[in-house]
Amino acid sequence: MLGEGIAKGLVETARNFIGSYFSKNRLTTVQYPEERLPQIEATRDFPFLVYDGDDWQAGMRCVGCQICEKECPPKCIYIEKSKDKKPDAVGKLQFYPAVFNIDVSVCMSCQICVEVCPFEAIKMDTEFELSTDNRFGGLLWDKARLSKPNAYYGKVHPTDAAASDALLAEEKAKVEAKAKAAGETKTNSELTSPPLATSGATSKQ
């Protein structure tokens, strides 16, 4: 009979209406600023620069090699290489980026910079509350803003950070073994450790 379907529909909506006051399961909305869902581990948005130790300038892993700048598809990274060298975390003399800017309004979060970096220096961040009232300066992040400690990386991406740490430790051990094998003959010709060939090679294709 005419109207049967309408009556059924009205009953259903009434059930929803009343049910939403009694059953918490019905209301799936997360009240965002007060409540938050836990982030999944693979979350990523914009890159940051990793540093070891406590001082971000002394411990910066980036050596200003500009590979990421060249690989970045939307060209959102701008690097000026330093003229001088300074010791890195292990005490070896390295170049460092005098200027390292990322325009996050251009960045498309593709993670290619992370793939190509031979020094485990640039990683993806998970922080997403980034709104700003200044659309030029506020979205162009400099070196100081981008730098975050390795411990932070361990916190946001534990699995990836563990792999990265293991890789670096292996690298370091290899360098130390080489230095030991070279004996007492001091050669300072090797400035940089050999790049991590695997990640660099795959992204080139």
Partner: protein, 391 residues
């Protein structure tokens, strides 16, 4: 005690008017009533927007607005400030005068409707002898403003929306008025005040509302369906049809003019619900004889809130009709039902009181309902339309 509370506002008005010189008294009295109507119904509009959003939210298992103020009840203030600070854009090709006039005339017409609604005992702005006629005359001005808005915007979507609105409103005006005519037949008066007074009596504890008669019930349902269509509310919101034609006739309106359209639409809905209450639900009369101590205006607003909730409930339930469904429903179901209902009301009037009258009239309502409903469901199917010139 009950009497003073009931007549509180009437006495207050008389007392205030008493201070004015005799020559100004009638104007001042009318002015006070107008101000009261403007304030009360604008406030009701604000409350309804937030209630509607919360109600729809709950129907869809959401929270609805809950950020501004306690439980989100200050949301209308935020909305008002927002619409006031927005830029008022008028299209270059628009007919500027008509474009400006449309929302203004709409709101004026919507407020004029309240002139004849008895909100409480002795609480009516103008007790016109032809109150119901006045109401329908003014409500057709609202149709005109919608067409003004659509035409003056110089926008195809606006014009489409306006065309739909005119087609829909003219179609549904017929059953709306025919449904109201039954009450006029029963009371023999076009005055809203008289109509309410006729329903204010009680048999035992039960009221004499027209909705509790077979023809009254059918008339009430027909009236409210047509009223939904007249006030452009879902499921009859084709003129706006945001998923099809952007925002229909008010596509080209922004800022406070848009808010005025919104206001006018809601005021129209309240007014036509108010008329439905006046005609069928006993106006300000209490539903049971021992509840008459509660002031009459409270009963009117309680009934109005129930009607508004029903509107929200229906909006949360039904999807929008298609144009052909809309027209079929109006002309092939509503109109014959309304015409037959006139006959039913006449039969009810001339049969002696008793069970026989109830039986005959109930039969006169139910049988056509079933038959017409069946006809509506199976009598037609979609065919491929053949065009003579476009193909």
């Amino acid at each position: 005690m009950g009497e003073t509370a009931d007549q509180l506002f009437v006495t207050l008005q008389h007392w205030l008017v008493g201070y004015a010189p005799a020559s100004l008294r009638s104007i001042l009295s009318a002015l006070l009533s107008v101000i009261a109507i403007l304030v009360v119904f604008a406030l009701l509009f604000a409350i309804t927007t937030v209630l509607e959003r919360k109600g729809l939210g709950r129907i869809q298992n959401r929270y609805g607005p809950n950020r501004v103020g306690p439980f989100g009840f200050l949301q209308p203030i935020a909305d008002g400030i927002k619409s006031l600070t927005k830029e008022d854009i008028v299209p270059r090709a628009a007919d500027k005068v008509v474009h400006f006039l449309a929302p203004v005339v709409l709101v004026i017409a919507a407020f004029s409707l309240y002139a004849v609604l008895p909100i409480g005992r002795n609480m009516v702005l103008a007790n016109l002898d032809a109150g119901v006629l006045f109401f329908f005359a003014i409500s057709s001005v609202m149709e005109l403003t919608i067409f003004m808005a659509g035409w003056s915007s110089r926008n195809k979507y606006s014009l489409l929306g306006a065309m739909r609105a005119i087609a829909q409103m003219i179609s549904y005006e017929v059953p709306l008025i025919l449904a109201a005519v039954t009450v006029i037949m029963a009371t023999g008066s076009l005055s809203t005040v008289t109509i309410v007074e006729r329903q204010a009596g009680y048999t035992g504890i039960l009221p004499h509302w027209f909705v509790f008669t077979p023809w009254g019930f059918a008339g009430f349902v027909l009236f409210m369906i047509a009223a939904t269509a007249e006030s452009n509310r879902s499921p009859f919101d084709l003129p706006e049809g945001e998923s099809e034609i952007i925002a229909g006739y008010y596509t080209e309106y922004s800022g406070f003019k848009f808010a005025l359209f919104f206001l006018g639409e809601y005021l129209g809905m309240f007014a036509i619900s108010g008329l439905g209450i006046t005609l069928f639900l006993g106006g300000w009369a209490a539903p049971l004889s021992f509840l008459t101590w509660i002031p009459s205006y409270l009963w009117f607003f309680a009934k109005l809130l129930v009607m508004i909730s029903a509107f929200i409930w229906v909006r949360g339930t039904l999807p929008r009709l298609r144009m052909d469904q809309l027209m079929n429903f109006a002309w092939r179901f509503m109109l014959p039902m309304a015409l037959l209902n006139l006959v039913t009301a006449g039969v009810w009037r001339f049969l002696p009181q008793g069970l026989l009258r109830w039986f005959v009239c109930a039969l006169l309502v139910v049988v056509p309902y079933v038959l017409l409903g069946r006809g509506l469901a199976q009598g037609w199917r979609l065919e491929k339309r053949v065009y003579r010139f476009a193909e």
